[in-house]
């Protein structure tokens, strides 16, 4: 790859990116040398600094020209030149045929028929059982304490030596609607198993990047009001199903006065969890601060309502490993979706 780069750069070395032209004995031959090829550190750093400076000057020129062009166009009343949108992976995501469409009757029928509809239609209140793997240490208990404060109507039971299949049975008897199992690996919570009851799907997530409340600067303390739930970007069918599963953990009647919001944001198949308290404030913005000379413009004050967020609660990311049809049974159960290595054929393809 580096060789290609060099070759390509050699072809378009007109702008002089990283190359310096050195006049050789034979004026016809011009050798193009990368700044990194110079062995002498002082000389090399000098050359590189010069190149960097040149680049920065170029960039500033371009920006100035662009701004001037748009300002001119605005003054003239024409349309400003098109703003260049950077190409991101989300922009260039592969067209996915499994994306949910708003006019899909089958989707709504499927939603009515799926395992979460009882909770989501508020026929049953969600009741969550949180437990852990057999050996739980260090950050595990702290994380579970925080989870208990995030999810209303959640109870923690110690794992003991019960088999997970038995735990599922006991939970069904006690009328729980879902089980969360926090799995710890090397004294760090590593995986989250979400089991819907009575015969709901089992989602296995890999947990990473956990930041506990005490490690967040200026954190807030959550209240016990029912939180609002924000689920972003669960576009595909699989994402929709996972989104509904997460939704079934929380009660469907959020208490807006509590000003507490829990966010599950999906981006590139990673689900980011955040927990905030928000407050609306009315700020008075003074107009025309740039023009200091005229006092007449100081009279204008515009009131803008803005929301300030204070983060509370843990912060972690989840990645779906597998979604299994039925309650926990890895060996004998059927999988609806499982991540396989030969699915990662494209950098622009995501499943949730």
């Amino acid at each position: 790859m580096a060789k290609e780069k060099k070759r390509k750069a050699a072809e378009e070395a007109v702008d002089g990116d990283d190359y310096i032209e050195r006049e050789d004995k034979n004026p016809k031959k011009q050798k193009l040398i990368l700044a990194s090829q110079i062995k002498n550190k002082e000389k090399r750093s000098a050359v590189y600094a010069k190149l960097k400076h040149e680049k920065r000057v170029e960039k500033r020129k371009k920006i100035k020209a662009r701004d001037a062009a748009s300002k001119q166009a605005l003054e003239l009343g024409e349309e400003p030149p098109e703003k260049m949108v950077p190409r991101t992976i989300e922009n260039t995501r592969e067209l996915d045929e499994t994306v949910c469409r708003p006019d899909d009757e089958e989707l709504f029928a499927g939603n009515d028929a799926d395992e979460f509809s009882a909770v989501l239609k508020q026929q049953t209140a969600p009741k969550v059982l949180i437990t852990t793997c057999r050996f739980n240490s260090s950050r595990g208990p702290a994380f579970i304490k925080e989870l208990l404060s995030v999810i209303p109507n959640a109870q923690y039971y110690k794992r003991g030596t019960y088999e997970l299949k038995k735990i599922v049975e006991y939970a069904k008897n006690k009328e729980f609607t879902s089980i969360i199992v926090v799995h710890t690996n090397r004294r760090e919570p590593d995986a989250l198993l979400l089991i819907g009851l009575p015969d709901g799907p089992t989602a296995h997530f890999r947990l990473s990047n956990l930041v506990l409340r005490k490690d967040i600067k200026n954190h807030g303390n959550p209240t016990s009001h029912e939180p609002e739930l924000v689920l972003n970007n669960f576009t595909t069918r699989l994402g929709h199903r996972v989104g509904r599963m997460i939704q079934s953990l929380f009660p469907q009647v959020p208490n807006f006065r509590g000003r507490r919001v829990v966010t599950f944001h999906n981006q590139r198949d990673f689900i980011f969890f955040r927990h905030h308290r928000y407050v609306f404030e009315v700020k008075e913005k003074k107009e025309g601060l740039k023009d200091k000379k005229s006092k007449a413009s100081q009279g204008k004050t515009e009131k803008k309502a803005i929301a300030r967020l204070q983060e509370c609660g843990p912060r972690f990311t989840l990645k779906l490993v597998s979604l299994q049809h039925g309650t926990f049974d890895t060996k004998g159960g059927e999988f609806e979706w499982v991540h396989k290595a030969d699915m990662d054929t494209s950098r622009r393809r995501f499943f949730i």
């Binding site: 592969e94 029928a109 009515d112 028929a113 060996k331 059927e334 999988f335 499982v338 991540h339 494209s346």
Partner: protein, 450 residues
């Protein structure tokens, strides 16, 4: 390094497949155009309703009067005409002879087999049906048409129980339709003679290993190996084993193959009598040669959900697989390559292939109804039913049906007599590795002139 551009999969030959799913919908997927078409959902039958979830299907793949039998979760068995989608008749699964209503209410149907060959009086009788429930109640009964006079005498259904305890999970009917096979959780494989209603063979579990541990019996899929031989049976277990049984030699498995780590959910035999296609609960599809017991190869194609059903095309080297990841995938068996995949939005329970579908029939209909077809396709892609379009299309089909049937029969006879494959299909097989044929419209034009 993962690629940044899309790769198009090679297309399929003309094909028609029907899939059923857990919302009770029956979707018809067709591939049109020779050598490289993409499958598209042409029709969707039935309202989406979870209580009408399809548990088992049976397809009588006949030229004349094909019937698709569908067993639903609410206890009804529907018989549909697979060409148009209209329901011919509906019967209750727990009919006649069941005294204990409460017990049969929870007893779901596991196996459904429609007898293709036995067709005595086609005007009033639709045919004979074999049903098997989870608790082991097997019933053979004859099904009358809905428009038949009610005072016609229907033969009394033949009922018997296959197992005492345990749960029947799989059943299979041999192609000569004299023998039936049942197996399940704690139910060893049983082979019954249908004419005499007697169990002629039962399997024996494998010997406990050197530690004395024996694996509990749990058969999840089974099939007969050859179409003219009822003596060889292939079964898949929950413990990821594929076993070959031979009735004439012994009661224990002759060959037992371990395949990966998930339960075997679907087994289908090939027409050559020695290859089987096996699908697991995690989405692995592989084919095995049962003469040696070796795996021929795996089918790689991003299948990430449990494979519920596999169907083999009787003529072409094609298999279709469907499952819980809501995709219908069509594979080439010679190269083990994925030809195409269709997203069908629901958890699919079974797939059947209509082998009497040819592109030539389409060419007759194409100039007559180009607009309605494309409209139907667009709307059914969005997932909605359009009754008007369907009825319009079916009316037209009914009009041409008489003329078309003659054409089909002639062509089919010709094929059988000459013994060579349709030249169009040969072209497709030859051209598959080279390139996708894009100028097939030329050929179609030529045919229309003829």
């Amino acid at each position: 390094m993962p690629r940044t551009s899309t790769v198009e999969s090679p297309g399929c030959p003309p094909l028609r497949a029907l899939t059923t799913d857990s919302l009770g919908l029956i979707k018809v997927v067709e591939v049109r155009g020779k050598g490289g078409g993409t499958p598209q959902v042409v029709e969707t039958w039935g309202p989406p309703d979870a209580s009408r979830s399809v548990l088992a299907t049976s397809y009588a793949d006949r030229k004349k009067d094909p019937v698709l039998a569908v067993a639903r979760k609410n206890g009804l068995i529907e018989f549909l005409n697979p060409l148009k989608g209209d329901v011919l008749t509906t019967i209750k699964a727990s009919e006649s002879g069941s005294t204990d209503q409460s017990a049969s209410a929870n007893d779901l149907l596991v196996g459904l087999h429609f007898f293709k060959s036995k067709q005595e009086d086609s005007s009033s009788m639709l045919g004979t049906l074999l049903t098997c429930t989870e608790k082991g109640k097997v019933c053979i009964r004859s099904v009358g048409r809905s428009d038949a006079p009610s005072d016609q005498s229907i033969d009394s259904p033949n009922e018997w129980s296959v197992t005492n305890g345990g749960q029947v999970l799989c059943s299979s009917l041999d192609p000569s339709e004299n023998y039936a096979l049942f197996g399940g959780k704690h139910v060893e494989l049983n082979l019954w003679d249908l004419n005499s209603s007697k169990k002629i063979w039962a399997a024996k579990p494998p010997r406990p290993n050197n530690l004395g541990i024996s694996i509990p019996t749990w058969f999840t899929a089974s099939t007969f190996l050859c179409k003219d031989d009822h003596r060889k049976i292939v079964a898949g277990t929950n413990q990821h084993q594929v076993r070959l049984y031979d009735i004439t030699s012994q009661r224990r498995a002759v060959i037992s193959i371990d395949f990966r780590e998930s339960p075997i959910k679907a087994v289908r035999e090939d027409t050559d009598g020695h290859t089987v296609y096996v699908g697991t609960a995690i989405g692995d599809l592989a084919s095995f040669d049962m003469r040696t017991g070796k795996m021929v190869g795996c089918y790689k194609g991003k299948c990430c959900g449990s494979i519920r059903s596999i169907a083999k095309h009787p003529g072409l080297p094609l298999i279709a697989s469907c499952g819980l990841d809501s995709y219908l995938r069509i594979w080439d068996t010679n190269k083990r390559q994925l030809l195409s995949a269709v997203f069908l939005k629901q958890h699919l329970t079974s797939v059947v292939i209509d082998s009497h579908f040819t592109a030539q029939e389409l060419e007759g209909t194409k100039p007559e109804e180009p607009t309605s077809q494309s409209e139907v396709r667009d709307q059914s892609d969005q997932g909605g039913n359009c009754d008007e379009e369907r009825s319009r299309k079916s009316k037209k089909k009914r009009k041409d049906a008489a003329g078309k049937k003659e054409k089909k029969m002639k062509m089919h006879d010709e094929e059988q007599i000459s013994g060579i494959e349709d030249p169009a299909e040969k072209d497709w097989i030859d051209e598959l590795p080279i390139s996708k044929r894009k100028n097939h419209s030329k050929k179609r034009g030529e045919k229309q002139l003829d």
